[in-house]
Amino acid sequence: MKKDLSHILFVSVMALSLGSCSKFLEVHPKESISDAQTIFDKTSAEEAVRGIYSALADGGYYGTSFQSIGYLAGGDIQWTGSQSQVQEFINHNVSPDNSTISAAWTAIYRVVNRANQVISKVPEVTDASLTDAYKKQLTGEAYFVRALAYFDLARVWGGVPLVTKPTLTASDNFGIPRATSEATYAQVQQDLEKAESLLPSTVNRFRATLKTAWALKARYYLYRKDWANAEAYAGKLIADAANYQLVNPYSSFFAGNVKGTAESVLEIYYNGGTETNGHAGQWLPQTSGGTRQWAPNDVLVSLLNNGAIGGNRSALIAKDNQNRWYGNLYRSINASSSYVIRTAELYLIRAEARAQQGNPTGALADLNAVRARAGISPSAAATRDDILLAVENERRVEFALEPQRWFDLVRTGRAAAVLNVTDPARLLLPIPSQQILLDKTLTQNGGY
């Protein structure tokens, strides 16, 4: 018996020691897969494209941070919380170590990398069930999102490093000098044209189609002051009245947790569970599950509550149990949509483009369409300048809680007059300081 015991001990030792160690030391995850084989068939191609939208929806991008840059800096939002990086946008004194700009910069380039993965890998996939047309559509969506990403980078920071190849190893995609602002916008246009050539002419309010590409082109040309093209592309969607409408009343594109109304050209979808939007958490009061980190300021509250200016857009704000106003566009914790392009924007793009091209009648028609939907009387503006100002003011209340006003005032050169941002260097935000530390070829914007 004793002999057996010692035998057992010895045998087990030998077995364990001499057993294949290398196999024992090879453990693979179950939640992830190796990056050696990622996009290889129809399903994985579709999933990788959804991965791009998922990054677009991220908290750093359309899921809060990037959008907050646009509305906090617009002059109509006040900060009520404890994190002072929010205050920096309101004061137009953003420091390079501001965590919001860092989050946005990082999130946008994550989108770029995911789009690049699709752009480079999907065309190479050989899978009989993946038709050529579908391949084009998937690749076209990636081009569209990349265009949006560079557009957003350009309007916040100016020229940025242009990355168009996927990151496959640790040595890829850094040390790329910043392109000029012109070159960055050129990249946007090039990607949009590529998308236009690939995308099908369908309607999808949550993903990119040919129509979405047209809408972004309209906005792109507006920013580039190419009024004719801005008018033309905005008109393409307005003309498609069966699909793109100003829903009435104003609140019917967001109230009651509706999603994908005819108002939306591109809306980011969140299911509230695995896909969550942080916006409501920042806007809503504690009783609704938020923190009311920021809120409409007194000026905005009075504008929206003014029947002649806000009209039924007063639905954008409400009072909490301590009698404080809060923003009520994003109404459902985690599950509210984020709005990227709405039909109203296309009307106002065309109004502005028409006014710029000396077509006051057409401009007023578009402007008044938006006003009518808000339940207010037509604009009394008559001259070109009056109409342009009326459009600017309309955009202020129409997009009161969306990221438009700051970018509008910057592109029209009115930030100094309206917001008293007299230092032109402050019209661009600083490159996140951490990124400059990490990549020596990145240069800071002037004035920071």
Partner: protein
């Protein structure tokens, strides 16, 4: 074959059956010997001492009166071997019928047996730096885990209790820190099992985490050894770089009558002096002052003018008093231990319940312990150690953050704000929950079920050659749930519940072969071994939102349910060996090496090699010290070796991965997750140690000194990548960190009189930490208060230095570091770190007749703490209704000529109240009365009359006083358990003061 026949013979010879058979035959009686065994100093009787006649199998045990009696066939004279636990074994020749034997206690530390890696050693023969802790003196400190009780006990071991919540993680660091992204916690080995020391918690308690060490009942611990230098830790190779803490639990003794021990204690804990807050009128005055300063309208003006009422009309509401309580403490432990000549056992059961001084948090632990050893023969022994624990916690968010934040709701809400609104409904204020509602509806619980156990078999294969094989398991099932109803922020608007079950199971298999031989003056030993380890982690997490109403609390009633599942595993294969040699107990030298293969590392770098060498010279054995009687022993030692670290990094850190879960619009999506690093490898720490051990003046003074230098290379770092890559970080070996310092421990026996003894232990240590190499600086913590930068110590405070407040203007004047005329984040500079210049402890032990008194202090000197509570509480009124104002803010500048360091209020994060201002960085030095124990042992005769062996009454107190320049309640407090953001005091309760009375009965 022949050997094993012999074993059988031996076995039969020792078996009770055989003995019994022998007594049945008529024995020849040649002598009768009786006697009494006492302690040589106290003359107390020693029951249970074993008396053995040399060269025979015959032995007896002393009874309760210390008496023993032999009736034997042996003729006088013969040699007796007398042994008793805690005493030196004595050999003497018996020639008369009655003898009185006095045994010498083994109180000289030289003969201490110290547990070291894969074996034990006599202290006098130690080559490495090892500290032994007797846990009995500190077990009265109310804390969940024994680790929290170690403060001030071991030089070089820094234990920081960052919260007053019992059972939450404490920070334990040995000789500084070596890593940025790998774990800096020492390796805990309990009865040979490498146990998990990282929390499995998922519920949000504001950055804090529970302590897995609290699953172990301190009462079951026999001894704790702290292995410090490379000689001592190299056998633990890849896991030894942070030091090793070996925990040995209690076992029975062979040939010991069963002994039952019962220990009961009850006590109270209460908060030390808390924060002083401005009253309602004071708050209003400061807010008005702020609005006046910026040219605004005073909000506290008559209601008739649309204001909130004049300052003097404001009421003051006390929320701190509502949330702090005098907490109950109770502890029950029962154990039975004993053994015969082939089997020994220890059976223990314990129950511990502690309320936190912060309502409604509690910690509750029930534990069961069973250890057994059995000799199959005199060559083969088997045994097992088993711990089963259930730790139940009512948890609360006692750290950073608003939703559900307990202490922040009470401390950070302005005192003038009523807990009810105009309609009389309880409401939360200033972004925090209402304290009464929190206390009424708080519902966060966790249950940790833990099994730690091992089985072993040990066989003597040949003379001097031993083989041992063991299997160990650490299994933890951690079950948490939380429910937030709609009265609370976290549950708004329609309720939120989560349920999470995490399982961490690791197993370990280990074989060792030891050979030990002495020939003349030469003594040497060889150890060979291997281990295989595997750790598997699984978690299932569910979250439900959208409950029908507050009566439904289970996720099954939620309208939106999401779930996640996690799985992770790592394996480790190791081979190790050690050779030691000593000549005449005078020159000692050893070499060891370990090879570790880890599944975590890159395909090119799976294996790491960790050698060490150590040598010691016992000068006392040299002729020139032989005659110096004042020196009982003197030894110098030196060691050098390399240890590694891989703990705390992701199990798949080296692999290039894509993950699922990037879903969009309810359909699955995939995305890049992590870049591959095929060269990811071990973090390696080389350590040099030189030490001196001296025993002086009749062994009344012992001195231990160590100096060490540690250098960590290939430090594991989540190296930040430029965002243009689309990736945030990348696991790499990019950091280098050094630690150097000294440790000194002095133990003295000051007075040893008949009825009175007084002994003292003092220790002091210094560690200097420095980041030697770091590609880019890293910032951590709220407002980036903590900076890790090349050339500075880890966890330095990076702040804007306030020089003074201009007496004329009342404005703060800061140091313009870059001289650009602007004060902004570019003017931040390092103004100290969390590291003390010196730290240690002092304890005094007195005995007088049957009384004993122990007083233990711990201290730190020169460390800084960022008082983040005060940062918020000294906003000067600019935060208005959004934050509390501390009374200290009343010292603000008001008029020209005022000399103060509190500037006039001018806003939040502008000029006078800049984020990261140095005004809130404070000196965190302290001296703490860590433990005070007063005990009384009932006289033996009295106890024995009640058929009890020992009865002891005791009183113990902890943290009874604290001396510190720090203005918060506790300079050790820190809001976050993340190892890279220590030293920021926010929203967490201080360690309580406590007293307990207890009774210990042994029979």
């Amino acid at each position: 074959m022949k050997n094993w026949t012999l074993v059988w013979v031996w076995l039969l010879a020792f078996s009770p059956v055989f003995l019994q058979a022998q007594t049945e035959t008529q024995p020849t009686i040649n002598s009768i010997l009786s006697g009494k065994i006492v302690d040589s100093k106290t003359k107390e009787i020693l029951d249970g001492a074993v008396v053995h006649i040399k060269g025979t199998t015959h032995e007896v045990q002393a009874d309760k009166t210390g008496q023993f009696k032999f009736v034997t066939g042996q003729r006088f004279p013969y040699t007796l071997i007398i042994s008793h636990v805690g005493y030196q074994t004595l050999e003497l020749t018996a020639g008369t019928a009655y003898i009185e034997v006095a045994l010498q206690p083994t109180n000289t530390r030289l003969n201490d047996v110290v547990v070291v890696g894969y074996g034990t050693q006599k202290r006098r023969n130690l080559v490495g730096a090892v500290a032994k802790v007797d846990p009995s003196q500190t077990k009265g400190i109310p804390a969940g885990g024994f680790d929290a009780q170690l403060q001030g006990k071991v030089p070089g071991l820094q234990t920081t209790t960052t919260t007053g919540v019992p059972g939450e993680a404490v920070t334990v660091r040995l000789r500084g820190v070596t890593s940025i992204n790998a774990d800096n916690t020492p390796l805990y080995v309990v009865d040979g099992v490498f146990i998990n020391s990282s929390s499995l918690q998922t519920v949000n308690t504001g950055g804090k985490a529970t302590s897995p060490i609290a699953d172990i009942n301190p009462y079951d611990i026999e001894s704790i050894e702290v292995l410090k230098d490379a000689e001592a830790t190299a056998l633990y190779g890849s896991r030894g770089a942070n030091g090793v803490i070996i925990v040995t639990t209690k076992r029975g003794n062979f040939n010991q009558k069963s002994r039952v021990s019962l220990d009961i204690s009850q006590g109270k804990a209460w908060a030390p002096p808390l924060w002083k807050l401005a009253t309602g009128p004071e708050h209003a005055t400061l807010v008005n002052e702020y609005f006046t300063n910026i040219g605004g309208v005073k909000p506290f003006r008559p209601v008739s003018e649309g204001g909130r009422g004049l300052p003097e009309e404001q009421k003051t509401y006390d929320r701190l008093g509502e949330i702090f309580q005098t907490a109950d403490l109770m502890n029950y432990d029962l154990s039975v231990s004993g053994g015969n000549n082939v089997t020994r056992f220890y059976l223990g059961a314990g129950y511990n319940k502690q309320e936190s001084i912060l309502k409604p948090i509690t910690f509750d632990r029930a534990s069961l312990k069973f250890n057994i050893d059995h000799k199959l023969s005199d060559k083969v022994q088997i045994g097992s150690a088993n711990t089963i624990t259930r730790a139940y916690r009512n948890q609360g968010r006692a750290g950073d953050g608003p939703a559900g934040g307990l202490l922040q709701a009470a401390l950070h809400t302005p005192t003038y704000l009523s807990p009810t609104n105009e309609q009389g409904v309880l409401v939360g204020r200033a972004g925090f929950d209402n304290v009464s509602l929190l206390l009424q509806y708080y519902d966060v619980h966790s249950i940790s079920l833990r099994y730690i156990g091992n089985v072993y078999a040990e066989a003597t294969l040949l003379k001097d050659l031993k083989f041992r094989s063991s299997w160990g398991v650490d299994y933890n099932n951690y079950d948490e749930s939380e429910y937030w109803n709609t009265y609370l922020i976290a549950g708004s608007p329609a309720g939120l519940a989560t349920s999470s079950i995490s399982q961490n199971s690791s197993w370990l298999n280990e074989q060792t072969l030891t050979y030990r031989k002495s020939v003349g003056n030469h003594s040497f030993g060889v150890l060979l071994g291997n281990t295989l380890q595997s750790n598997l982690f699984k978690r299932t997490f569910l979250q439900g939102t959208g409950f029908a109403n507050n009566s439904f609390t289970q996720i099954s009633s939620a309208s939106v349910v999401t779930g996640t599942q996690n799985w992770s595993k790592n394996t480790l294969a190791s081979f190790f060996g050690k050779i030691d040699y000593s000549f005449a107990d005078k020159y000692l030298v050893d070499f060891s090496a370990r090879a570790d293969g880890s599944s975590k590392f890159g395909v090119n770098r799976k294996w790491g090699y960790f050698p060490s060498v150590g040598a010691a010279w016992r000068l006392k054995k040299e002729n020139f010290l032989n005659d110096i009687e004042k020196i009982n022993d003197l030894k110098i030692r030196a060691s050098y070796g390399i240890t590694g670290n891989q703990n705390g990094i992701g199990d798949f850190a080296s692999q290039g991965l894509w993950s699922g879960g990037s879903s969009y619009k309810d359909s699955a999506g995939i995305s890049p997750q992590q870049l591959a690093n095929a060269d990811l490898q071990w973090e390696k720490t080389s350590q040099f140690n030189i030490g001196l051990d001296a025993t002086l003046f009749d062994s009344r003074v012992t001195v231990e000194f160590n100096y060490y230098y540690k250098y960590t290379k290939d430090g594991l770092l989540q190296l930040a990548r430029p965002a243009t890559t689309g990736f945030g970080t990348y696991w790499s070996n990019a950091a280098e960190i050094s630690n150097r310092g000294f440790e000194l421990a002095i133990n003295t026996l000051n007075i040893e009189a008949k009825h009175f003894t007084w002994s003292t232990s003092f220790n002091i240590a210094q560690n200097l930490n420095r980041i030697e190499k770091l590609p880019t600086p890293l910032q951590y913590g709220s407002r980036n208060l903590i900076l890790l930068r090349e050339g500075s110590p880890m966890y330095s405070y990076n702040l804007i230095k306030q020089l003074y407040v201009d007496p004329q203007t009342g404005n703060a004047v800061y140091e313009d570091v870059n001289k650009d005329g602007k004060i902004n984040s570019d003017d931040r500079q390092i103004l100290g770190s969390i590291w003390p210049k010196f730290a240690g402890g002092l304890s005094n032990q007195f005995t007088y007749r049957n009384f004993d008194l122990g007083i233990q202090f711990s201290y730190q000197f020169g460390n800084k703490t960022y008082n983040h509570n005060r940062f918020f509480g000294e906003g000067g009124g600019a935060r208005d209704a959004a934050r509390v104002i501390f009374a200290s803010n009343l010292a603000r500048w008001q008029k020209p000529g005022d000399i103060t360091d509190v500037p006039r209020a001018d806003g939040v994060n502008v000029n006078n109240y800049l984020d990261a201002g140095s005004r809130w960085l404070e000196n965190g030095s302290f001296v703490r009365l860590r433990a005070l124990t007063l005990g009384y042992n009932l006289p033996k005769q009295l106890a024995q009359r009640a058929r009890l062996q020992n009865v002891r009454f005791y009183f113990s107190g902890s943290n009874l006083f604290l001396i510190s320049p720090y203005t918060g309640p506790d300079p050790e407090s820190s809001a976050n358990s993340n190892q890279n953001q220590p030293g920021i005091d926010l929203g967490t309760p201080p360690q309580p003061r406590s007293v307990q009375i207890g009774l210990n009965v042994t029979f």
